[in-house]
Symmetry: C2
Subunit: 204 residues, 2 copies
Amino acid sequence: MVAGVSRQAPSGFRFITRSAAQTRILDAALKLIAEHGAAGTSLQMIADAIGVTKAAVYHQFKTKEQIVVALTERELGGLEEALEAAEAHDDFPRAREELLRRVIDLAIERRGAASTLQFDPVVVRLLAGQEQFQRFIQRLYGVLIDDTSEDARVSAAMLSGAIAVGVMHPLVAGVDDDTLRSQLLRFTHRLIGAPEESGAGDGG
Amino acid sequence: MVAGVSRQAPSGFRFITRSAAQTRILDAALKLIAEHGAAGTSLQMIADAIGVTKAAVYHQFKTKEQIVVALTERELGGLEEALEAAEAHDDFPRAREELLRRVIDLAIERRGAASTLQFDPVVVRLLAGQEQFQRFIQRLYGVLIDDTSEDARVSAAMLSGAIAVGVMHPLVAGVDDDTLRSQLLRFTHRLIGAPEESGAGDGG
DNA sequence: GTCTATATAACGATAGAC
DNA sequence: GTCTATCGTTATATAGAC
Protein backbone atom coordinates (compact mmCIF):
# COMPACT_ATOMS: atom_id res chain seq x y z
CA MET A 1 0.00 0.00 0.00
CA VAL A 2 2.90 2.30 0.68
CA ALA A 3 5.48 0.88 -1.67
CA GLY A 4 5.11 2.57 -5.01
CA VAL A 5 2.53 5.04 -3.85
CA SER A 6 2.53 8.09 -6.05
CA ARG A 7 3.11 11.36 -4.27
CA GLN A 8 -0.40 12.65 -4.11
CA ALA A 9 -1.40 16.24 -4.43
CA PRO A 10 -1.61 17.91 -1.04
CA SER A 11 -5.16 18.29 0.20
CA GLY A 12 -4.25 21.90 0.69
CA PHE A 13 -4.64 22.22 4.43
CA ARG A 14 -1.32 23.85 4.89
CA PHE A 15 -1.36 27.04 2.92
CA ILE A 16 -4.53 28.62 4.18
CA THR A 17 -3.76 31.92 5.84
CA ARG A 18 -6.11 33.47 8.33
CA SER A 19 -6.50 37.03 9.52
CA ALA A 20 -5.89 37.90 13.15
CA ALA A 21 -9.63 38.20 13.70
CA GLN A 22 -10.20 34.76 12.22
CA THR A 23 -7.43 33.25 14.33
CA ARG A 24 -8.97 34.68 17.50
CA ILE A 25 -12.29 33.13 16.57
CA LEU A 26 -10.74 29.72 15.87
CA ASP A 27 -8.79 29.78 19.14
CA ALA A 28 -11.90 30.61 21.13
CA ALA A 29 -13.99 28.07 19.23
CA LEU A 30 -11.54 25.24 19.90
CA LYS A 31 -11.50 25.92 23.61
CA LEU A 32 -15.27 26.14 23.81
CA ILE A 33 -15.84 23.02 21.70
CA ALA A 34 -13.52 21.08 23.99
CA GLU A 35 -15.64 22.15 26.96
CA HIS A 36 -19.15 22.05 25.53
CA GLY A 37 -18.96 20.14 22.27
CA ALA A 38 -19.55 21.62 18.83
CA ALA A 39 -23.33 21.46 19.17
CA GLY A 40 -23.13 23.06 22.59
CA THR A 41 -20.98 25.94 21.40
CA SER A 42 -22.95 28.89 20.12
CA LEU A 43 -21.81 31.83 18.06
CA GLN A 44 -22.74 34.00 21.02
CA MET A 45 -20.38 32.09 23.27
CA ILE A 46 -17.54 32.51 20.80
CA ALA A 47 -18.29 36.21 20.40
CA ASP A 48 -18.40 36.73 24.17
CA ALA A 49 -15.11 34.88 24.63
CA ILE A 50 -13.23 37.28 22.36
CA GLY A 51 -15.20 40.37 23.33
CA VAL A 52 -17.10 41.14 20.14
CA THR A 53 -20.67 40.70 18.93
CA LYS A 54 -22.15 37.81 17.01
CA ALA A 55 -22.30 39.91 13.85
CA ALA A 56 -18.53 40.39 13.96
CA VAL A 57 -18.06 36.63 14.05
CA TYR A 58 -20.44 36.14 11.14
CA HIS A 59 -18.42 38.66 9.17
CA GLN A 60 -15.43 36.29 9.34
CA PHE A 61 -17.22 32.99 8.83
CA LYS A 62 -20.52 32.76 7.02
CA THR A 63 -21.80 29.84 9.11
CA LYS A 64 -20.99 27.91 12.23
CA GLU A 65 -20.13 24.93 10.05
CA GLN A 66 -17.40 26.92 8.33
CA ILE A 67 -15.80 27.63 11.68
CA VAL A 68 -15.67 23.92 12.46
CA VAL A 69 -14.25 23.12 9.03
CA ALA A 70 -11.62 25.87 9.29
CA LEU A 71 -10.71 24.64 12.76
CA THR A 72 -10.22 21.09 11.59
CA GLU A 73 -8.18 22.26 8.60
CA ARG A 74 -5.90 24.16 10.93
CA GLU A 75 -5.42 21.33 13.41
CA LEU A 76 -4.85 18.75 10.68
CA GLY A 77 -2.46 20.95 8.71
CA GLY A 78 0.61 19.70 10.53
CA LEU A 79 -0.36 16.13 9.82
CA GLU A 80 -0.40 16.73 6.08
CA GLU A 81 3.32 17.38 6.08
CA ALA A 82 3.96 14.31 8.22
CA LEU A 83 1.83 12.19 5.93
CA GLU A 84 3.74 13.21 2.84
CA ALA A 85 7.05 12.52 4.52
CA ALA A 86 5.82 9.09 5.57
CA GLU A 87 4.54 8.27 2.11
CA ALA A 88 7.99 9.03 0.75
CA HIS A 89 9.35 5.92 2.44
CA ASP A 90 9.06 2.81 0.35
CA ASP A 91 8.93 0.23 3.11
CA PHE A 92 5.91 -0.04 5.36
CA PRO A 93 7.36 -0.26 8.86
CA ARG A 94 9.50 2.84 8.41
CA ALA A 95 6.64 4.83 6.94
CA ARG A 96 4.38 3.91 9.84
CA GLU A 97 7.09 4.58 12.40
CA GLU A 98 7.74 8.02 10.95
CA LEU A 99 4.07 8.93 10.80
CA LEU A 100 3.30 7.73 14.31
CA ARG A 101 6.20 9.68 15.72
CA ARG A 102 4.96 12.88 14.13
CA VAL A 103 1.34 12.19 15.09
CA ILE A 104 2.40 11.81 18.69
CA ASP A 105 4.47 14.99 18.56
CA LEU A 106 1.55 16.96 17.17
CA ALA A 107 -0.91 15.44 19.60
CA ILE A 108 1.32 16.45 22.51
CA GLU A 109 2.05 19.88 21.07
CA ARG A 110 -1.63 20.71 20.96
CA ARG A 111 -2.57 18.47 23.89
CA GLY A 112 -5.74 17.00 22.59
CA ALA A 113 -6.92 19.71 20.21
CA ALA A 114 -7.29 17.23 17.38
CA SER A 115 -8.59 14.61 19.80
CA THR A 116 -11.38 16.96 20.79
CA LEU A 117 -12.46 17.33 17.19
CA GLN A 118 -11.98 13.64 16.42
CA PHE A 119 -14.47 12.55 19.07
CA ASP A 120 -17.12 15.19 18.49
CA PRO A 121 -20.04 13.61 16.63
CA VAL A 122 -21.00 16.92 15.04
CA VAL A 123 -17.49 17.36 13.67
CA VAL A 124 -17.39 13.75 12.48
CA ARG A 125 -20.72 14.14 10.71
CA LEU A 126 -19.67 17.37 9.09
CA LEU A 127 -16.34 16.07 7.84
CA ALA A 128 -17.93 12.85 6.59
CA GLY A 129 -19.59 14.97 3.94
CA GLN A 130 -16.35 16.59 2.83
CA GLU A 131 -14.38 14.65 0.22
CA GLN A 132 -11.19 16.51 1.05
CA PHE A 133 -11.11 15.11 4.56
CA GLN A 134 -12.17 11.63 3.56
CA ARG A 135 -9.29 11.42 1.10
CA PHE A 136 -6.93 12.59 3.81
CA ILE A 137 -8.14 9.97 6.27
CA GLN A 138 -7.82 7.27 3.62
CA ARG A 139 -4.21 8.27 3.03
CA LEU A 140 -3.57 8.09 6.77
CA TYR A 141 -4.99 4.57 6.89
CA GLY A 142 -2.86 3.66 3.91
CA VAL A 143 0.29 4.33 5.89
CA LEU A 144 -0.93 2.97 9.22
CA ILE A 145 -2.49 -0.29 8.00
CA ASP A 146 -0.32 -2.65 6.02
CA ASP A 147 -2.96 -5.12 4.93
CA THR A 148 -6.71 -5.45 4.95
CA SER A 149 -6.80 -8.00 7.78
CA GLU A 150 -9.18 -7.42 10.66
CA ASP A 151 -6.15 -7.73 12.88
CA ALA A 152 -4.56 -4.66 11.35
CA ARG A 153 -7.78 -2.66 11.46
CA VAL A 154 -8.44 -3.38 15.12
CA SER A 155 -4.86 -2.51 15.91
CA ALA A 156 -5.09 0.79 14.05
CA ALA A 157 -8.36 1.69 15.76
CA MET A 158 -6.91 0.98 19.19
CA LEU A 159 -3.76 2.88 18.36
CA SER A 160 -5.71 5.94 17.30
CA GLY A 161 -7.69 5.84 20.51
CA ALA A 162 -4.65 5.24 22.68
CA ILE A 163 -2.81 8.26 21.31
CA ALA A 164 -5.82 10.57 21.20
CA VAL A 165 -6.92 9.76 24.74
CA GLY A 166 -3.36 9.38 25.99
CA VAL A 167 -2.74 13.10 25.52
CA MET A 168 -6.07 14.47 26.73
CA HIS A 169 -7.10 12.23 29.63
CA PRO A 170 -7.32 13.92 33.04
CA LEU A 171 -4.87 11.31 34.35
CA VAL A 172 -2.07 12.79 32.22
CA ALA A 173 -2.87 16.44 32.86
CA GLY A 174 0.15 16.82 35.12
CA VAL A 175 2.60 14.86 32.99
CA ASP A 176 5.19 16.99 31.23
CA ASP A 177 5.58 16.83 27.46
CA ASP A 178 8.85 14.90 27.30
CA THR A 179 7.70 12.21 29.70
CA LEU A 180 4.41 11.92 27.90
CA ARG A 181 6.11 11.62 24.53
CA SER A 182 8.49 8.87 25.59
CA GLN A 183 5.67 6.94 27.23
CA LEU A 184 3.39 7.29 24.23
CA LEU A 185 6.15 6.12 21.91
CA ARG A 186 6.95 3.20 24.15
CA PHE A 187 3.38 2.00 24.41
CA THR A 188 2.77 2.65 20.73
CA HIS A 189 5.70 0.42 19.78
CA ARG A 190 4.45 -2.17 22.17
CA LEU A 191 1.03 -2.05 20.56
CA ILE A 192 2.27 -2.46 17.01
CA GLY A 193 4.87 -5.01 17.99
CA ALA A 194 7.88 -2.90 17.10
CA PRO A 195 11.06 -2.97 19.17
CA GLU A 196 11.10 -0.39 21.94
CA GLU A 197 13.89 2.13 22.06
CA SER A 198 15.92 2.84 25.14
CA GLY A 199 16.65 6.51 24.58
CA ALA A 200 13.93 9.10 24.22
CA GLY A 201 16.21 11.90 23.06
CA ASP A 202 14.61 12.95 19.85
CA GLY A 203 14.30 16.70 19.40
CA GLY A 204 11.06 18.30 18.30
CA MET B 1 -4.14 0.11 46.47
CA VAL B 2 -6.03 -3.11 45.87
CA ALA B 3 -4.53 -5.29 48.56
CA GLY B 4 -6.57 -4.81 51.69
CA VAL B 5 -9.18 -2.62 50.08
CA SER B 6 -12.39 -2.76 52.02
CA ARG B 7 -15.40 -3.89 50.06
CA GLN B 8 -17.07 -0.59 49.42
CA ALA B 9 -20.77 -0.01 49.33
CA PRO B 10 -22.13 -0.31 45.81
CA SER B 11 -22.77 3.01 44.17
CA GLY B 12 -26.20 1.67 43.46
CA PHE B 13 -26.20 1.70 39.69
CA ARG B 14 -27.45 -1.83 39.40
CA PHE B 15 -30.83 -1.95 41.04
CA ILE B 16 -32.58 0.92 39.35
CA THR B 17 -35.61 -0.34 37.49
CA ARG B 18 -37.13 1.63 34.66
CA SER B 19 -40.57 1.53 33.11
CA ALA B 20 -41.03 0.57 29.49
CA ALA B 21 -41.62 4.20 28.61
CA GLN B 22 -38.40 5.24 30.32
CA THR B 23 -36.44 2.49 28.60
CA ARG B 24 -37.72 3.62 25.21
CA ILE B 25 -36.58 7.15 25.98
CA LEU B 26 -33.11 6.03 27.10
CA ASP B 27 -32.67 3.82 24.03
CA ALA B 28 -33.61 6.66 21.71
CA ALA B 29 -31.48 9.15 23.63
CA LEU B 30 -28.38 6.95 23.43
CA LYS B 31 -28.69 6.52 19.70
CA LEU B 32 -29.25 10.23 19.15
CA ILE B 33 -26.42 11.30 21.45
CA ALA B 34 -24.04 9.00 19.58
CA GLU B 35 -25.01 10.75 16.35
CA HIS B 36 -25.39 14.36 17.44
CA GLY B 37 -23.81 14.66 20.86
CA ALA B 38 -25.67 15.35 24.09
CA ALA B 39 -25.86 19.08 23.43
CA GLY B 40 -27.07 18.45 19.89
CA THR B 41 -29.82 16.11 21.01
CA SER B 42 -33.06 17.89 21.84
CA LEU B 43 -36.06 16.63 23.74
CA GLN B 44 -38.03 17.08 20.54
CA MET B 45 -35.67 14.74 18.67
CA ILE B 46 -36.06 12.08 21.35
CA ALA B 47 -39.85 12.49 21.37
CA ASP B 48 -40.02 12.23 17.58
CA ALA B 49 -37.82 9.13 17.57
CA ILE B 50 -40.26 7.20 19.77
CA GLY B 51 -43.40 8.77 18.37
CA VAL B 52 -44.62 10.85 21.32
CA THR B 53 -44.64 14.52 22.24
CA LYS B 54 -42.10 16.44 24.29
CA ALA B 55 -44.50 16.59 27.22
CA ALA B 56 -44.65 12.80 27.38
CA VAL B 57 -40.86 12.69 27.66
CA TYR B 58 -40.89 15.32 30.40
CA HIS B 59 -43.38 13.21 32.29
CA GLN B 60 -40.73 10.46 32.60
CA PHE B 61 -37.69 12.64 33.24
CA LYS B 62 -37.97 16.08 34.77
CA THR B 63 -35.00 17.51 32.88
CA LYS B 64 -32.72 16.69 30.00
CA GLU B 65 -29.88 16.30 32.48
CA GLN B 66 -31.73 13.51 34.24
CA ILE B 67 -31.97 11.60 30.99
CA VAL B 68 -28.20 11.79 30.55
CA VAL B 69 -27.60 10.74 34.16
CA ALA B 70 -30.03 7.82 33.89
CA LEU B 71 -28.39 6.78 30.63
CA THR B 72 -24.94 6.76 32.17
CA GLU B 73 -26.19 4.85 35.20
CA ARG B 74 -27.62 2.20 32.93
CA GLU B 75 -24.51 1.84 30.77
CA LEU B 76 -22.18 1.78 33.76
CA GLY B 77 -24.30 -0.64 35.75
CA GLY B 78 -22.60 -3.71 34.36
CA LEU B 79 -19.23 -2.31 35.31
CA GLU B 80 -20.17 -2.01 38.96
CA GLU B 81 -20.46 -5.77 39.26
CA ALA B 82 -17.15 -6.26 37.48
CA LEU B 83 -15.50 -3.71 39.73
CA GLU B 84 -16.63 -5.44 42.89
CA ALA B 85 -15.44 -8.79 41.60
CA ALA B 86 -12.06 -7.30 40.74
CA GLU B 87 -11.72 -5.64 44.13
CA ALA B 88 -12.26 -9.02 45.75
CA HIS B 89 -8.87 -10.16 44.47
CA ASP B 90 -6.03 -9.35 46.77
CA ASP B 91 -3.22 -9.16 44.26
CA PHE B 92 -3.03 -6.35 41.77
CA PRO B 93 -2.33 -8.03 38.45
CA ARG B 94 -5.19 -10.49 38.83
CA ALA B 95 -7.62 -7.74 39.84
CA ARG B 96 -6.66 -5.66 36.83
CA GLU B 97 -6.78 -8.63 34.52
CA GLU B 98 -10.26 -9.53 35.71
CA LEU B 99 -11.57 -5.99 35.40
CA LEU B 100 -10.12 -5.40 31.96
CA ARG B 101 -11.61 -8.62 30.67
CA ARG B 102 -15.06 -7.60 31.84
CA VAL B 103 -14.64 -4.02 30.60
CA ILE B 104 -13.81 -5.36 27.16
CA ASP B 105 -16.76 -7.74 27.21
CA LEU B 106 -19.14 -4.94 28.14
CA ALA B 107 -17.64 -2.55 25.60
CA ILE B 108 -18.13 -5.11 22.86
CA GLU B 109 -21.61 -6.08 24.05
CA ARG B 110 -22.80 -2.51 23.71
CA ARG B 111 -20.39 -1.58 20.91
CA GLY B 112 -19.38 1.83 22.06
CA ALA B 113 -22.41 2.91 24.05
CA ALA B 114 -20.27 3.78 27.05
CA SER B 115 -17.56 5.15 24.77
CA THR B 116 -20.06 7.59 23.29
CA LEU B 117 -20.89 8.93 26.73
CA GLN B 118 -17.26 8.89 27.88
CA PHE B 119 -16.17 11.26 25.11
CA ASP B 120 -19.10 13.66 25.21
CA PRO B 121 -18.01 16.88 26.93
CA VAL B 122 -21.52 17.62 28.14
CA VAL B 123 -21.75 14.21 29.77
CA VAL B 124 -18.29 14.59 31.27
CA ARG B 125 -19.18 17.99 32.67
CA LEU B 126 -22.43 16.74 34.10
CA LEU B 127 -20.91 13.69 35.77
CA ALA B 128 -18.03 15.73 37.15
CA GLY B 129 -20.56 17.37 39.43
CA GLN B 130 -21.96 14.07 40.69
CA GLU B 131 -20.11 12.56 43.63
CA GLN B 132 -21.55 9.11 42.95
CA PHE B 133 -19.81 8.90 39.60
CA GLN B 134 -16.57 10.41 40.80
CA ARG B 135 -16.30 7.79 43.53
CA PHE B 136 -16.98 5.11 40.96
CA ILE B 137 -14.26 6.37 38.63
CA GLN B 138 -11.81 6.57 41.51
CA ARG B 139 -12.50 2.94 42.37
CA LEU B 140 -11.90 2.01 38.73
CA TYR B 141 -8.55 3.79 38.80
CA GLY B 142 -7.71 2.04 42.02
CA VAL B 143 -7.87 -1.32 40.30
CA LEU B 144 -6.32 -0.26 37.00
CA ILE B 145 -3.37 1.75 38.33
CA ASP B 146 -1.00 0.01 40.69
CA ASP B 147 1.06 3.00 41.76
CA THR B 148 1.01 6.75 41.41
CA SER B 149 3.81 6.87 38.83
CA GLU B 150 3.29 8.91 35.69
CA ASP B 151 4.13 5.74 33.83
CA ALA B 152 1.09 3.97 35.22
CA ARG B 153 -1.21 6.93 34.63
CA VAL B 154 -0.20 7.35 30.99
CA SER B 155 -0.62 3.64 30.49
CA ALA B 156 -4.11 3.68 32.02
CA ALA B 157 -5.15 6.66 29.92
CA MET B 158 -3.97 5.00 26.72
CA LEU B 159 -5.62 1.74 27.67
CA SER B 160 -8.94 3.43 28.27
CA GLY B 161 -8.74 5.14 24.90
CA ALA B 162 -7.61 2.00 23.10
CA ILE B 163 -10.56 -0.04 24.36
CA ALA B 164 -13.15 2.70 23.98
CA VAL B 165 -12.10 3.57 20.43
CA GLY B 166 -11.27 -0.04 19.58
CA VAL B 167 -14.94 -1.01 19.77
CA MET B 168 -16.50 2.03 18.13
CA HIS B 169 -14.10 3.04 15.36
CA PRO B 170 -15.46 2.79 11.80
CA LEU B 171 -12.50 0.53 10.98
CA VAL B 172 -13.89 -2.23 13.23
CA ALA B 173 -17.54 -1.89 12.20
CA GLY B 174 -17.39 -5.12 10.22
CA VAL B 175 -15.41 -7.14 12.74
CA ASP B 176 -17.43 -9.80 14.54
CA ASP B 177 -17.60 -9.83 18.33
CA ASP B 178 -15.38 -12.84 19.00
CA THR B 179 -12.59 -11.63 16.73
CA LEU B 180 -12.80 -8.17 18.22
CA ARG B 181 -12.67 -9.52 21.76
CA SER B 182 -9.60 -11.68 21.19
CA GLN B 183 -7.82 -8.82 19.45
CA LEU B 184 -8.69 -6.33 22.18
CA LEU B 185 -7.49 -8.74 24.85
CA ARG B 186 -4.30 -9.41 22.95
CA PHE B 187 -3.44 -5.76 22.46
CA THR B 188 -4.50 -4.91 25.99
CA HIS B 189 -2.11 -7.47 27.42
CA ARG B 190 0.59 -6.18 25.16
CA LEU B 191 -0.03 -2.66 26.40
CA ILE B 192 0.14 -3.53 30.09
CA GLY B 193 3.04 -5.89 29.58
CA ALA B 194 1.16 -9.04 30.56
CA PRO B 195 1.75 -12.35 28.82
CA GLU B 196 -0.54 -12.94 25.86
CA GLU B 197 -2.76 -15.99 25.84
CA SER B 198 -3.00 -18.33 22.90
CA GLY B 199 -6.59 -19.44 23.27
CA ALA B 200 -9.52 -17.02 23.26
CA GLY B 201 -12.12 -19.52 24.41
CA ASP B 202 -13.61 -17.78 27.39
CA GLY B 203 -17.36 -17.79 27.63
CA GLY B 204 -19.41 -14.75 28.44
C1' DG C 1 -13.88 45.06 11.29
C1' DT C 2 -17.34 46.00 14.40
C1' DC C 3 -21.69 47.63 15.83
C1' DT C 4 -27.27 47.78 16.75
C1' DA C 5 -31.34 45.79 15.54
C1' DT C 6 -34.20 42.32 13.89
C1' DA C 7 -36.37 38.06 11.61
C1' DT C 8 -37.42 33.35 12.24
C1' DA C 9 -36.99 29.11 14.36
C1' DA C 10 -35.97 25.89 17.98
C1' DC C 11 -34.82 25.23 22.64
C1' DG C 12 -35.96 23.53 27.68
C1' DA C 13 -39.63 23.41 30.56
C1' DT C 14 -44.55 23.81 32.54
C1' DA C 15 -49.88 23.82 33.03
C1' DG C 16 -53.81 21.50 32.65
C1' DA C 17 -57.16 18.35 29.93
C1' DC C 18 -58.05 13.46 28.91
C1' DG D 1 -49.13 7.99 30.01
C1' DT D 2 -50.03 11.07 26.54
C1' DC D 3 -51.90 15.12 24.65
C1' DT D 4 -52.41 20.55 23.21
C1' DA D 5 -50.91 24.93 24.18
C1' DT D 6 -47.88 28.11 25.87
C1' DC D 7 -43.96 30.81 28.34
C1' DG D 8 -39.48 32.73 28.32
C1' DT D 9 -35.00 32.16 26.35
C1' DT D 10 -31.67 31.20 23.09
C1' DA D 11 -30.26 29.77 18.56
C1' DT D 12 -28.62 30.81 13.60
C1' DA D 13 -28.44 34.19 10.44
C1' DT D 14 -29.02 38.83 8.03
C1' DA D 15 -29.47 44.07 7.02
C1' DG D 16 -27.50 48.19 7.23
C1' DA D 17 -24.87 52.07 9.84
C1' DC D 18 -20.20 53.48 11.26
